[in-house]
């Protein structure tokens, strides 16, 4: 079924882009996602893709051109990181509110400052309220698989929303490791053709996109947008079930790793989950009931399902690879804590910030978190400090 290969995360997503061969790609290079437009340009130059590549003068223009192309009826993608996503900010909201199913390959990198090129989730987490779907990957395989599923989710008639497929900068994007690719035909058949119901270049149906909405329309429009995000949850699961049929790989809102009987658990996003799995196995070998909840889908936020997966835990550490400077932990911790409260969860919660500006997250770090959780599960959070850092010099 799969073609065994070794690739970096960027190579893997670029390969998915080649197999899907969308109509248009406007993009502006930025580390560590520069290779994506670079690989696509090479594929086009070699005649392996016929995507229209638009070299633009900034990321604001990249997203603007993507909006124009998608509204015109073209299946459109782009790629960026960090400050590039920040420069798209205004247009991210426009793309989402105009309900344009653009796919954006995001290679997560810290927003400045301090000036830094390494992995952090501050870029996509900052855009979490822009109305885009967000799906995260643990490794190159998941980045590839998620990109293959992206258009099926985004273009679904009950969704029609742009989608961000995220992978950890450098750690995944530039690390070469094993991967199983799908055959071109299987990808093409799975993704299918894009036939938008309404599009600007349809000569039989002139249309207007992005009209001014006075206050008696804007709120209704946002509620409809919110409904699309609610619908995306079901569609993400349906598409994952279909993807399993062609790939043999299971995907959902999250992955529960040795969580069923876990008393202590780490919740995390991205490459840290692989490292945490190794720590879980070490603890299990010592007879400790440790587990991992890996969040794959952050938008829509599957709060009820995540809280359900943690129902048997006595202490949970929620890890954020970004600060939100709320003085109370990161965004995943905030949203999941709220969901646990709604679910009447009894678990003690630690809100842990890790891996900022590319700080390495090690098996030892994960073990330290589990050790803290064990202590809290046994004796309660005696110093009352929920919001902590791991991997910090102090």
């Amino acid at each position: 079924m799969g073609i065994k290969q070794r690739m970096s995360g960027n190579e893997a997503v670029a390969y998915a882009m080649k197999q899907i061969n969308p109509d248009v790609m406007p993009a502006f290079p930025i580390t560590p996602s520069t290779e994506l437009p670079q690989f696509v340009s090479s594929y086009i130059a070699n005649g392996e893709m016929d995507t229209e590549f638009i070299p633009v003068e900034s990321e604001h223009s990249a997203m603007s051109a993507a909006i124009g192309a998608e509204a015109a009826g073209a299946r459109t993608m782009t790629a960026t990181s960090s400050a590039g996503l920040a420069l798209m900010w205004e247009m991210l909201y426009v793309a989402a509110s105009n309900r344009l199913p653009i796919a954006l390959a995001l290679v997560n990198r810290a927003l400045s400052g301090p000036l830094n090129i390494n992995c952090e989730h501050s870029d996509s987490m900052g855009a979490r309220d822009s109305g885009w779907i967000q799906i995260y990957a643990e490794d190159n395989q998941e980045a590839y698989d998620n990109f293959i599923q992206a258009y099926r989710i985004a273009e679904h008639k009950d969704v029609m929303l742009p989608i961000m497929i995220c992978q950890d900068g450098f750690i995944i994007s530039h690390g070469v490791s094993n991967i199983e690719l799908l055959e071109d035909e299987a990808v093409k058949a799975f993704v299918g053709e894009y036939n938008p119901k309404h599009f600007l270049l349809n000569e039989n149906e002139p249309m207007a996109v992005g009209p001014y909405a006075v206050s008696c329309y804007g709120m209704e429009s946002k509620r409809a947008h919110a409904q699309a995000m609610i619908n995306a949850g079901r569609v993400i699961l349906d598409v994952a079930a279909e993807f399993e049929k062609i790939s043999g790989k299971k995907y959902g809102f999250f992955e529960a790793y040795r969580l069923e009987d876990a008393e202590i658990a780490i919740v995390a996003i991205g490459s840290a989950c692989g490292t945490t799995k190794d720590a879980v196995d070490l603890l299990r070998a010592e007879g400790k009931k440790a587990g991992l909840l890996k969040v794959r889908v952050f938008r829509p936020f599957p709060g009820k399902e995540l809280a359900g997966a943690l129902r048997n835990c006595r202490a949970v550490a929620i890890l954020d690879r970004c600060e939100s400077f709320s003085a109370n932990g990161g965004p995943l911790a905030a949203e999941l804590s709220a969901a646990l409260y709604q679910a009447k969860g009894q678990a003690e919660v630690l809100k842990i910030v890790y891996g900022l500006n590319g700080r390495d997250y090690t098996v030892e770090d994960a073990r330290q978190v589990f050790a803290d959780l064990e202590e809290i599960a046994a004796n309660g959070n005696r110093d009352g400090q929920e919001y902590r850092y791991i991997g910090l010099r102090e």
Binding site: R6, P32, I117, N118, D139, D168, F170, I171, I172, H174, G175, V176, S177, N178, S271, A272, G274, T275, K277, D278, G358, D360, Y361, T362, V363
Partner: protein
């Protein structure tokens, strides 16, 4: 047999340490291993110290951190011995490989009392005699295969030949030079220190993977 081998490369920007690490991952993949090859990104400047890593395993690799307790360390430039703690975390059961023209009396005092085996190779000499240019990464890769036993010699040369042939399809003279460099490097490795337990470990007997 250990199921996971971890290797750390120290070089300077432009010397090809990252390329060598990725090439090793490529070749290990070619013989059916699970691999990771990745650089650690710092200031990307010609001459700046760079670190790259390899993991080679018989089972899927999930960990995504850097390598702190490598089995082998390769130092592509001996001037790094003064500024970088190259033996940090290096297993005494593993080995250190240094590209240098210097003898053991000059090198060993710089290794902070490392207790494992130490090897040197004069990659510059190998390069100048075979390629006519100084590209140390290929000889270092060959020397690493020799001292680590992570790949069979024949398998390594077969896979490298295929890879280089493909890479230098239109430049057969470059292919020939690189092939010679790999072969010469394999024989140019010298052991300057043995593991502290006094057990003499012959180069060819060192099999970890």
């Amino acid at each position: 047999m250990k199921h996971l081998t971890e290797i750390r490369w120290h070089g300077r920007g432009g010397q090809g340490a990252k390329t060598a690490a990725l090439l090793l991952a490529d070749i290990a993949f070619g013989i059916g291993k699970y691999v990771q090859g990745f650089p650690e990104y710092g200031p990307e400047r010609m001459g700046a110290p760079v670190t790259a890593y390899d993991r080679i395993s018989d089972s899927a690799i999930r960990v995504h951190s850097n390598i702190y307790e490598p089995d082998f360390v390769v130092v592509v430039d001996d001037t790094l011995l003064h500024s970088v703690d190259v033996t940090a975390g290096l297993s005494p059961n593993g080995a250190l490989l240094i590209n240098t023209e210097k003898g053991k009396d000059e090198i060993l005092p710089l290794l902070k009392g490392y207790k494992g085996a130490v090897y040197t190779i004069n990659a510059r000499k190998v390069c100048m005699e075979t390629l006519g240019k100084y590209f140390p990464n290929m000889p270092m890769l060959s020397a690493l295969v020799r001292i680590s036993g992570i790949l069979e010699k024949d398998v390594f040369f077969r896979e490298m030949e295929a890879s280089l042939k493909h890479k230098f399809e239109k430049k057969p003279e470059v292919f020939a030079g690189n092939k010679k460099a790999l072969e010469a490097a394999f024989d140019a490795v010298e052991q300057i220190s043995f593991a502290a337990d006094g057990k003499r470990v012959e180069i060819a007997d060192r099999r970890v993977a």
